[in-house]
Amino acid sequence: MSLEMVRLIVGALFILMLCALVWSVIHGRKIAKTEVTDLVFGNPVKALGGWYWVITGVSSILLLWFYFSWDAARAFFPNAANEMCQVAKVDSELNAMRSTFPMQSRLLKGTSFLDREGKLIDRTRRTINKSDIDVGLRDRYLLAADSVDKLLLSRVAEDSLTAENKAALSDIASKIDAVTANLADPGFPGPASDAEQKAGYEQPGWGEGKKEIPDIPNTARGRKFNNVSAQVKAISSEFAKIRNLDDGYKADIKRTSDELKALQASSSAEDAAQAKIITKSLDKILKRIDDGNIFPPGALVSVEDSLKRFNAEQSKQEGSLKFIDAIAMPGGEIRAGSTACTEQGSGRWLPKPSDTLATLVNISDPTVGFKAVPLLWYEWKPASEMLAFFIPDWIADLIPGEYPRHTSDGSINTNLKTKVLNFATGNYNSFSLPIPAGHLWDSIMRVLSGLFLGIVLGVPLGLFMGLSRFAKGFFDPLIELYRPVPPLAWAPLILTIFGINDDGKIFLLFMVAFAIMVISARTGATGTHLSKIHAAHSLGATNRQIIRRVILPNSLPEILTGIRIAIGVCWGTLVAAEMLAGTTGIGFIENVARKQSNYEIIWVTIILLGLLGLLFDLIMRWIITKTIPWRGKG
């Protein structure tokens, strides 16, 4: 099947789909008019018809296919990428040459050049006519524009092409034909040498080594394209050197350029600015003409024909690769760079699921981790340090006496004060306990610490504000002053004040959780039915008991909903804060991966965050059904 046929079919399918889309909109509107619908819910049952499932199914299958296609391509056609890499080498060598002809664009490069520069010259003429410079100067500028125009047009005359260039172009055409013959020859380039074969087999496979795609040809087709790419490279650079220029023409360009400069120099003071503009725009056109890329219309026909034959043969030789590319690599392709072949498009930013999983497994290994920190592991920590965390160091200062000084023989005597200080700072031998550690743990701990502080301080204050007009009046402005600002807007300030370690992030999360918890606890407290409080009063409960036994449990639904919201917001804020500053955490990983363009790790962090969010929400839902089963039933 030829490329034209494929394009025809794809085009027809596309038009058909467009028609179907328009028809379905019209038909849908017609149905919607006649349908009996409920005012509130419409007619949701109708959507369960057969076509609904067809549409849903197709969209799901497309999505799944988009995700798994590159993986499928690698599984079913392990050599395809290697072969496509060789084809891509040919394409990249020929790119400059093909762009000269109407192959990648609509017009011959020379045609569009002539068109564009002609228009520019006309525009400059209009600028000259409209300008209010000296009449003599204006006439001389118009003459200069005419000579630029003439220079441009002289290159499209058939006789402008030198005999030398003519010979060179027909030489290139015949060289291309020779390469095309090689491409078509099933025997070319002959059997691989042992060394070539060995190199091909020993290189890591697709997605296995450091290089994304093995670039030493592995198959007969690959070797053919690889050899051809070397040949077209030579032809392409030869073609690029041909310039439609000769010495006389160069002299003419030089003269015109000098004339333009002289005109500008001779202009009077008040004309200088406008003269400069005119000189500059004509000079730019001259410089582009000087590049010598305009040829007479017939000059390149033989090269173009040869190249077209080459293209047709290339398409024929690619064969099945074209279909693998179209179906198994949607939205992407394999491109050859100067050093290696790479996956581009969806193959790049949507890494294969198996690669993403392998990356996750790899960085989950505690000895690998990410930046020498494991993802989630444990480490042995002495119990003394943990105990010391809860004991303030200043208790040692309270003991009467002074800390010992060193003696003249260099030893330091201990006294009770030093012993207490050692105890308070954890400076003694104790047994060790395994403590979780790693990026994931750090992020989780930050969220939980911020959330914990927010709940412990926010809920009592919220209840207090719900019960006391004074508390509401005093604290409301304080909270409402910082709450409307997006938490991330505070991050740079907070992280600067508290430093980039845990303190700053925990304080930021505390701010987020605190505001949410205050508001939800306050709503819960004010929502307590007066008859419940009256009932508790007449049953003999004191005010304190009413707060503890009636208002707090009655506010639990609001408080738990607040916690659920706060967890979500805290995660969002934490990831962004970790991206801003820090050395551990999921946000840190993602930010480093972004800087390295490591899409697999970016996806791993996205998936981990999604799973964590889901896990926390499930836990909260479980807590909610366990603790407040009466919600909505009271």
Binding site: S531, H534, S538, L539, G540, P553, I628, W630
Partner: protein, 265 residues
């Protein structure tokens, strides 16, 4: 004797515009121990305000109120309350609701158990002790509210439209229960209601209140509560005396409502 004595009670609420609303004016009555009083009146006549003053949630702006000689200055355990609905603590089980008052005053859960079981049996909820209250029907919830109030052994039981949200059948059963409890415990009970039938059935004495300002309009002494203890409530309702009283009070309240509407127009 712990009688409830109200002498010329006044209650005025200040309005934002500076005027004052007289919710209650010059209310005087004596409720002897063991009496069953129902209070009836059109909406806005100050029934609930009166009840809240007796419960101690509001302080009257004038007059005096004593229970057993002691002036009422705030809520107290000697006055139990039963509300319309939604005053149960949903987060507690039935028995935790019932012994709430005892526990708040320092009793241990174990000690209260026999008392709770006894009261649950009286209100007809034996075996429901560990059920969460949100799983109960409306009638059962009101039984819990009754038990919760009675377990404190109050001198006076105040009921604010306790059966207002129940369906007709459940309501009738609950009316019998209230009568039974009144008879068996000999408590003083004051019930506020808008149902004329209920007021007639559950009132040894019946106050009809009138609005603007809220005042006692007429007092009845009725035999139906006594009769209701001996025979079926439906038979009591079918008696001609019952119908007579009902029609008289209905037209009285009807006229008051008319007056209010006319006054507004």
């Amino acid at each position: 004797m712990s009688d409830l004595v109200a002498s010329s009670l006044d209650m005025t609420f200040p309005m934002p515009e500076g005027e004052k609303v007289e919710a209650l004016k010059d209310i005087s009555f004596t409720l002897k121990q063991g009496e069953l009083l129902s209070v009836l009146g059109p909406s806005g006549c100050g029934k609930t305000t009166l009840l809240n003053i007796i419960a101690g949630f509001l302080l009257p702006t004038g007059g005096a109120l004593t229970l057993g000689g002691e002036p009422i200055t705030g809520p107290g355990v000697n006055r139990g309350m039963v509300f319309q609905q939604g005053a149960l603590f949903e987060w507690l089980t039935v028995s935790e609701n019932v012994d709430f008052g005892l526990r708040m005053r320092g009793a241990k859960k174990k000690e209260t158990r026999p008392k709770v079981d006894e009261w649950l049996e009286i209100v007809g909820l034996q075996g429901f002790g560990d059920t969460p209250t949100y799983q109960l029907s409306g009638g059962m919830q009101q039984r819990v509210a009754l038990a919760r109030c009675l377990i404190n052994d109050p001198d006076l039981i105040l009921m604010d439209e306790p059966l207002g949200a129940l369906d007709a059948l459940t309501r009738e059963k609950m009316q019998s229960l209230v009568l039974k409890i009144w008879k068996e415990t000999g408590k003083t009970i004051m019930i506020i209601t808008h149902s004329v039938e209920e007021a007639l059935l559950l009132g040894e004495r019946l106050f009809v209140m009138a609005p603007r300002p809220g005042r006692l309009h007429k007092e009845y002494r009725l035999p139906f509560a006594e009769w209701g203890l001996q025979q079926d409530l439906r038979e009591v309702k079918a008696r001609p005396e019952f119908a007579e009283n009902r029609d008289e009070i209905l037209s009285m309240i009807w006229n008051m409502e008319e007056e209010i509407m006319g006054g507004n127009a």
